[in-house]
């Protein structure tokens, strides 16, 4: 049972990550900051409202903080690599 759920979680987390990567590229294209505290707060608030237990709100918040941490990182990596494509290769400083 747990194995099955974990498999679904992995799939869902990766779906979510793919979205984050796309968002990262868009943020870069529109010169928007990777970090948006308001959006993070919204996500956490929405998750809290959806919660029906038995996980308590704080526990769920801690889990989602990890997910958000990783999304932020993915967005940054995506933004940096699309950044790299637009710029000419780095040269050694003289």
């Amino acid at each position: 049972m747990i194995d099955e759920i974990d498999a679904q979680l992995v799939e869902l987390l990766n779906q979510r990550s793919r979205c984050a990567i796309e968002i990262g590229k868009l943020k870069r294209a529109y010169q928007m900051p990777i970090y948006s505290p308001e959006r993070e707060r919204e996500v956490l608030e929405r998750v809290r409202r959806l919660n029906r237990g038995p996980l308590d709100d704080d526990a769920l918040r801690r889990v989602f903080e990890r997910i958000i941490d990783e999304s932020r990182r993915l967005e940054r990596l995506a933004a940096e690599s699309s950044d790299g494509l637009e710029k000419s290769p780095r040269r050694e400083r003289p």
């Binding site: 900051p33 990777i34 970090y35 505290p37 707060r41 704080d58 918040r61 801690r62 903080e65 990890r66 958000i68 941490d69 932020r72 990182r73 940054r76």
Partner: protein, 336 residues
């Protein structure tokens, strides 16, 4: 790096810290606790902690990784014991190293070696090559001095520690001494440190008079990273604004070193104060503070000493001091 927020930090303050960490190139792991929020910053960037400490709502910033690696206590939690025959430096016993500032003659070293042995010293100190502030001061007897040191130490069952001033002297000195000392002025002579890392003798590394604790540990890192794990640190006084004594013996460096590193810590109250009457109190303080050893200058006729006579204890003063130190050692769970 870990940023601990104040208990009453607002979401806006937390967001500003997260933003700053990201600008600095860190990935942030946010953890909202019951009373405080903790931000873990993941990355290898070296930053000035003050940039974060000064942000509003920040209670504390903790650097997890230190610039020194091999000498850090996180690398090796248990104390290092340097074994030289029966003598263990860094163990329960506090080791006394004593002897003249400089070797002046065969008779002088023999007489002082006998006296310090009777006081309980395990290691004979003495300079053969002297780094002097003035080029007109006595520069030492050189190899002749090393021979006298070895002879006196062997006669009285002592080990020898003496300062090595340059790379070229390492092979010669290694023939005569058991511990190679790096003087305070040479603490950041990095090429000398590298060479000492490639040879087998233990090294007593003196803290430079203007070196921070971190710089001292980085100097030790040079030796250890070269392959020689047997380094002991020595607090010998730093320059401060205070002028009443030659230096300010940084007693507090002893517990700080003991926390940050597993290397044995020796205190030198002779150079640290520069005055005979101040040596016993600072020696007592050093033992109370957790020093693993003391290095003390002794001269049977200090008024005739060619080097630093005013800071040399008389043999009978050393004897009296050791009696006191034994009581302090017992009080802090050590022997002497």
């Amino acid at each position: 790096m870990i940023v601990i927020m104040e208990e009453n930090a607002t979401e806006e303050q937390i967001a500003r810290v997260v933003e700053k960490l990201m600008q600095m190139g860190f990935d942030v792991h946010r953890s909202t606790g019951v009373t405080r929020t903790v931000l873990g910053a993941v990355g290898t960037k070296v930053v000035d902690l003050r940039e974060l400490e000064l942000l509003e709502g920040v209670a504390e910033v903790i650097r997890v990784t230190t610039p020194y690696k091999l000498v850090s206590r996180s690398f090796r939690p248990e104390d290092l014991e340097i074994r030289l025959g029966d003598v263990v430096i860094g163990g329960r016993e506090i080791i006394l190293m004593a002897g003249p500032c400089a070797v002046e003659s065969r008779e002088q070293v023999l007489e002082i070696a006998d006296a310090v042995r009777q006081a309980g010293a395990k290691i004979l100190r003495g300079g053969a090559f002297k780094p002097r502030t003035s080029p007109y001061s006595f520069q030492g007897l050189g190899e002749e001095g090393l021979r006298y040191l070895r002879e006196a130490a062997d006669r009285y069952g002592l080990l020898v520690v003496s300062e090595v001033m340059e790379i070229g002297h390492i092979p010669l000195m290694s023939e005569y001494v058991d511990i190679l000392q790096v003087g305070a002025r040479n603490m950041q002579h990095f090429n000398l440190l590298k060479e000492l890392g490639r040879q087998p003798k233990p090294v007593l590394l003196k803290r430079g008079p203007a070196a921070t604790i971190e710089e001292t540990l980085l100097a030790a890192e040079y030796i250890v990273s070269g392959g020689n794990p047997n380094v002991m640190l020595c607090e010998r006084g730093i320059r401060t604004f205070e002028t009443s004594l030659r230096y300010t013996l940084d007693i507090s460096a002893i517990p700080v070193f003991k926390k940050l590193t597993y290397l044995p810590v020796i205190a030198d109250p002779s150079h640290g104060t520069g005055r005979r009457d101040k040596v016993p109190p600072m020696a007592r303080a050093a033992v109370a503070a957790g020093a693993d050893g003391l290095i003390i200058e002794v001269h049977h006729r200090p008024e005739e000493a060619l080097c630093d006579g005013p800071q040399a204890l008389l043999p009978e003063q050393l004897l009296e001091l050791v009696g006191q130190l034994r009581q302090i050692a017992a009080a802090v769970g050590r022997t002497m």
